[in-house]
Symmetry: C2
Subunit: 390 residues, 2 copies
Amino acid sequence: MNCLSKKIGIIGGGQLGKMMILDAKRLGFYVVTLDPTECCPSHSISDEHIVAAYDDEDALRQLAEKVDVITYEFEHIHVGILKQLEQEEYVIYPTVSSLAIIQNKFRQKTTLLKGQISVPRFQQIKTQQDIEEAGNRFGYPMMLKACTGGYDGKGNWVVQHKDAIQEAYKQLGNGQIELMIEEFVPFVKEISVLACRSIDGHIAIYPVGENIHEDSILDETRVPADITEDCTKKAMELASEVMEIFAGVGMFCVEMFVTEDDTIYINEVAPRPHNSGHYTIEGCMTSQFEQHIRAISGLPLGDVALRCPTVMRNLLGADGAYGKTCVDGLIEAQQDPHVKVHIYGKTEVREKRKMGHLTVCATTLDEAIERADQAKMCIQITHTHKEVIG
Amino acid sequence: MNCLSKKIGIIGGGQLGKMMILDAKRLGFYVVTLDPTECCPSHSISDEHIVAAYDDEDALRQLAEKVDVITYEFEHIHVGILKQLEQEEYVIYPTVSSLAIIQNKFRQKTTLLKGQISVPRFQQIKTQQDIEEAGNRFGYPMMLKACTGGYDGKGNWVVQHKDAIQEAYKQLGNGQIELMIEEFVPFVKEISVLACRSIDGHIAIYPVGENIHEDSILDETRVPADITEDCTKKAMELASEVMEIFAGVGMFCVEMFVTEDDTIYINEVAPRPHNSGHYTIEGCMTSQFEQHIRAISGLPLGDVALRCPTVMRNLLGADGAYGKTCVDGLIEAQQDPHVKVHIYGKTEVREKRKMGHLTVCATTLDEAIERADQAKMCIQITHTHKEVIG
């Protein structure tokens, strides 16, 4: 008899945490959030909110004591205290050992390579000299990357030619942070495959999504991806292999590059629900968020078939936005009855900050793209231009 | 520019309120709940919770002052204070005038009849003598009903024959409450049509659901209903006419009887999302809860087409259940990846109390029925048999 439904602790109360909670509450779970921001998106829907830094040892221990299982909505967490908690038999999913590997891009790629997964060629960088050597080996352009902490293109730097090495090195910490170089893959498509693994090792692979980035930030995901059937099959198999390698429990996102000749390289793996998986909320019977909650709480995995062609568009803070959030155009966007709007509830807006997204399911992908385009054009997220009392 | 998203106040924090909030939070709204129970299902996901009786004048006024629009999850509210608030230009949807009519079954039926809608024949009852006269007019069996306050068969009494009149009269308040008699309609199907009307008068009509009751409590809703195309069309038109008559804003549920010869009678109208509309969460692009929030907040209505054949089964407290809630069998029920479980989070269970529901979408209705049957059999909701610390 499982009389009390499990209590779930989530490190991070941003939009990913919020969307996990919306599904967790439907399923009857009790949720405790740890996030330093009082008014974070998860705040008002958590049963409890511990307001503390992500690496606050006391707060993390407090969280662990309150819940049956801890998870996280982002991978840039100091693993030290989590390792300690795991050793004390607190349950953390995805496991801290998989997190420790994945959060460091060099270790992540090394592990994938050992598992015979195709990744772009890469090497560790300790000195500016190493970058020059990599240039001789891989040719230009190539990608200089911080091994930890990057997101939305932050922490990555394209080295266009030999003369740009010094600047690149300077931009990425001037030797103060761990670096790696990756060869540039001349991809024609960026795709991602959401995958989930349950505690007992069952794996569910979502339909392949095609991602379109703008300024290195995800702008649009289209599902199904416009790739060959063979390529789709290969991508899904690859995602499954990746899940086995990391023995991940919970949702993972496997981002991939597809080249002209349908070769697939793994770009990056994230041990959590992912922006490119938001389409699953309306596009599949089981959203990536519900699936994550099911996996980490020991429930069987849900159905992942695509219900209809689906397009997701991100809603970012407008150029120059800085201050209290102001969302405009929601009525206009929702004149189309097929448009589903998600507003994360961030009280502060910044230029290009992820503030929400919208999804359209339609009979054809082209129709979904067109409707999503129209809706997105209506919405503007900027800062309030006057003081609003309320 | 609509810089602050609207604040919504909900009277009642049960499962209907909770499911409204889950959609409202996705859309970015701020929600204040008024409910006397500290640990009600809405508690942990509301931005604020005013713990007070539904008819506490001060609390209702406090709620009105905090939000832009007030709504409610059940119709048995004293309308006096709401009328006063509406006069003071606080916004309440559905309007208090429509609520005042609908919450009294005699006034509801009288209004429908005036609008030339088919309802079972009925008459007001002031004395036991009136019941006898009704018996002569309508024949037996007939339905004695409390005009206000009934739900799940409570407040209704079947008068089987003349000799049972005294008992029926005694059971329903012995003249202390307002009563009416309705003729018994020999229906072959009970159906319900969810309908929503926006502030500017647009109406969306959901697919017709077929309801199966057990002990007067809804057990199952199957969509589409197994009725003729013509009957379906007529039912949807009727629901639309009902929405025009009450000039309702928000979700309404129109329960109907269908007889052997496809005549449709309106049984009851509820001015709120309804148990028989839970299927819309997975079965339609726009759930009845999202639709309600959209309507009352001035957003355009969303798409209501059925995405696939869908079955909803209620999960009630087990026979003899009384105490702290214990839900058993969730892992077993969710072995079928198509089963979607909703647990309301009520801390106290009672026999036949609505504790959750499950939904199955499938390729055919028969398949959905079969899968829902299997899943429902796995789940048992009763009370804890020992003290649980946590």
